[in-house]
């Protein structure tokens, strides 16, 4: 069977679901967007117009969940990279909004620039499990207004995979659609192929951001998938038990689902989560904590309970540098999600509580992901894998190296061979120059970034996208 790990029992999932409904009914959420409030009121919700607080009855939530698509495909510019959800394996996405990079040339941490967004896309293109590209840093060398559009355009120009980002203002939506249209040719194709999706963060506890909600609601008109990311922090922006913090995060997610389904019935949504705990000494959000991993794992289950595609934050660390703490925390926050069968994990490539990107780490995380997926695939106990005849024919003593089954198995998914981890003998390893996982990853980063750009846009499309970038620079403040 597949190897599974779950944080919640079926009964506990139902309890939390009901807790979230109770929160939505009795406490409500703050939604500072008139259009959303009107839709909610028409749907039967009770509105406090002055406070912009909404009590959402459970029937409305049920109705929204009912019409939320259970499956769809995140299209990629290169259809080879299309990502259908639900997925039989757990893919990786980059996580957005870091501020720094560890420069692969100097090994030093510095502020991120737009070229890093381009380079990140190129490295991500070669991450086997990488399916969804969210530009992982916000560059310092471009102004804030057009920054989101420049990031999105740069991602599309340097990677042929599905691109995901935030739409922070209403103005940005048209630019994003124009970029997608430039690539796909028509609005109809944009709606059909879904090569762009947006992340949408609710604001804990139980609030929505005015501009981002307005913009994301507008984006659903194009049926662009929206990844809903609640992120209450246990004890600061959320209650101080993992259980109740999950209930708040889930309530936030349900409120977003309800709003988006009222806006555009049947619009594709992805159930996400980036909740966690904080360091109670300095207030810093802790991503690499086991309590964070537990909550994320539970939220993955909630998403599956609702039958929705799931992309959950994972493979995270609070380490300030690459190395032992980073890798331990990343494995511990990745494995449970993969064993829980979420469709994708977002967090690859970032360290320092997702503030700093490292290309080498991105490749190492890609390998962590493959290891976790192999673990999740489990042990196949089947007639096909029952090699009793081999056992009988070899008998006591002897060996299995000269069995046809063995020869076939070494090239099958029965055995996973890592690319970066070293499995040589000691002398072989010395001869190779004593490589570490990091040095192997570094070599690969250099090779990717010194090589040709893979899967480039056609020159004419690139020209149009560059024009859109120029317009964004001139018009978005």
């Amino acid at each position: 069977m597949k190897m599974n790990a779950y944080a919640l029992s079926d009964e506990e999932i139902r309890i939390i679901h009901n807790d979230s409904l109770q929160i939505l009914e009795e406490v409500g959420v703050r939604i500072p967007v008139e259009k959303a409030l009107e839709l909610l009121e028409a749907g039967g919700a009770k509105i406090d117009w002055e406070k912009k607080n909404v009590s959402i009855p459970r029937e409305m939530v049920a109705k929204a969940l009912d019409i939320t698509p259970k499956e769809f495909t995140l299209g990629a510019r290169n259809p080879e990279f299309d990502f259908a959800m639900p997925s039989s394996y757990t893919a990786f996405t980059l996580d957005g909004a870091g501020a720094n990079v560890i420069d692969y040339r100097t090994g030093k941490r510095r502020e991120a620039v737009l070229q890093d967004v381009a380079d990140a896309a190129r490295v991500f293109e070669e991450v086997e499990l990488g399916k969804v590209l969210w530009s992982p840093v916000v560059p310092y060398d471009v102004p804030g207004g057009p920054c989101g559009i420049l990031n999105t355009a740069t991602s599309f120009m340097n990677s042929s995979k599905h691109v995901q980002d935030e739409v922070k203002t209403l103005d940005e939506v048209q630019y994003v659609i124009e970029i997608a249209k430039a690539i796909l040719g028509s609005e109809e194709e944009v709606i059909k192929r879904k090569i762009y999706s947006a992340t949408y963060c609710t604001v804990a506890p139980l609030c929505h951001d005015e501009e981002m909600l307005e913009a994301t609601m507008e984006l659903t008109k194009y049926k662009a998938p929206v990844l809903i990311l609640p992120m209450p922090a246990c004890g600061s922006t959320g209650p101080a038990s993992l259980y109740s913090n999950i209930a708040v995060a889930n309530a936030e997610a349900l409120s977003a689902i309800t709003v988006f389904q009222l806006m555009t019935p049947g619009t594709p949504l992805i159930f996400g989560a980036a909740l966690g705990i904080i360091n109670m000494r300095n207030g810093i959000f802790l991503e690499g904590a086991m309590e964070t991993a537990l909550q994320l794992s539970a939220m993955g289950q909630m998403g599956k309970y609702y039958g929705m595609p799931t992309i959950i934050a994972g493979c995270l660390t609070d380490a300030k540098e690459l190395g032992m703490q980073a890798d331990i925390e990343k494995v511990m926050t990745c494995l449970p999600l993969v064993l829980g069968g979420v469709d994708a994990v977002n967090g690859a490539g970032l360290i320092e509580s997702s503030m700093t990107m490292s290309f080498e780490q991105m490749l190492i995380d890609g390998e962590i992901g493959l290891m976790c997926n192999r673990m999740s695939a489990g042990i196949e106990v089947s007639d096909e894998k029952n090699f009793f005849m081999d056992i009988k024919e070899v008998g006591p003593g002897g060996h299995f190296l000269k069995r046809k089954n063995t020869r076939t198995a070494v090239r099958s998914s029965e055995f996973f061979t890592p690319e970066l981890a070293n499995r040589s003998t000691y002398s072989e390893w010395l001869k190779l120059g004593s490589p570490s996982m990091f040095s192997e990853a570094h070599k690969k980063v250099e090779k990717i970034l010194s090589g040709e750009l893979k899967n480039p846009l056609s020159p004419s499309t690139e020209k149009v996208i560059k024009e859109i970038m120029e317009e964004a620079k001139a018009k978005l403040r």
Binding site: A99, V138, V203, M280, R281, N282, G283
Partner: protein, 213 residues
């Protein structure tokens, strides 16, 4: 009296807001010395809380409880304390805000708490505060320091804009500007000519102390 001062100190240290109010009211009804109650009682509590925090024994919630107990006692004794102005130790004032377009206020609130715990008079304007409002507060409150928080890379530019506005209003040299928030760093602070940057609440207090020394 010593026992009563100890009780006051402990009410803040334990973060017992009701008790702090009760003890402060007692000072008024019994015509006690409000200034002594503050200096010998309540303020000792907040200082001790700050010390325990530095020692790693107190956590953020403990500090927030303590700071709120102190603020409540202050509110009760406010008018009485003002009568004796002149002989009072004037506390330094700080205006805090999360900049416009940014609704994240936890970090700034923690800084406010630490500042209160260290004897600053904190004027917390909240989150998503319009630039004009911050300028107005600087003019009206005349703080020694204004602290600007931004969690988003897209909103940190407002820190720069506010400094420009302070310059345009001709009041830039009346106040020290300190900046913070996840994407902010020393480099950015230098670039926008802020007076200081800190990446956590404890060093923010040290920074404020240095800037106002």
């Amino acid at each position: 009296m010593a026992d009563l001062y100890d009780e006051m100190r402990n009410s803040v240290l334990e973060g017992d807001e009701e008790l702090a109010i009760e003890l402060a009211e007692k000072v008024l009804t019994e015509k006690g010395n409000a200034m002594m109650a503050m200096n010998e009682g309540f303020l000792n509590g907040i200082q001790e809380a700050g010390r325990l925090f530095e020692d790693g024994e107190y956590f953020l919630p403990d500090l927030i409880f303590a700071a709120d107990a102190l603020k409540s006692a202050l509110r009760v004794l406010d008018s009485e304390l003002k009568k004796n102005e002149g002989e009072s130790v004037k506390s330094k004032k700080i205006v805090l805000a999360t900049v416009q377009g940014d609704i994240h206020d936890i970090g700034k609130t923690i800084v406010g708490t630490m500042m209160t715990a260290n004897g600053y008079e904190v004027h917390d304007l909240g989150a998503d505060v319009k630039n004009e409002e911050i300028i107005r507060a600087v003019k009206e409150i005349k703080p020694e320091i204004v602290g600007l928080s931004a969690l988003l890379t897209t909103t940190m530019e407002e820190q720069k804009n506010i400094i420009t506005m302070l310059e345009e209003e001709g009041i830039r040299n009346t106040v020290k500007v300190i900046v913070g928030g996840a994407p902010v760093n020393q480099n950015w602070a230098d670039k926008i000519k802020a007076d200081g940057y800190s990446d956590n609440a404890i060093s923010a207090v040290k920074l404020a102390d240095e800037l106002t020394a």
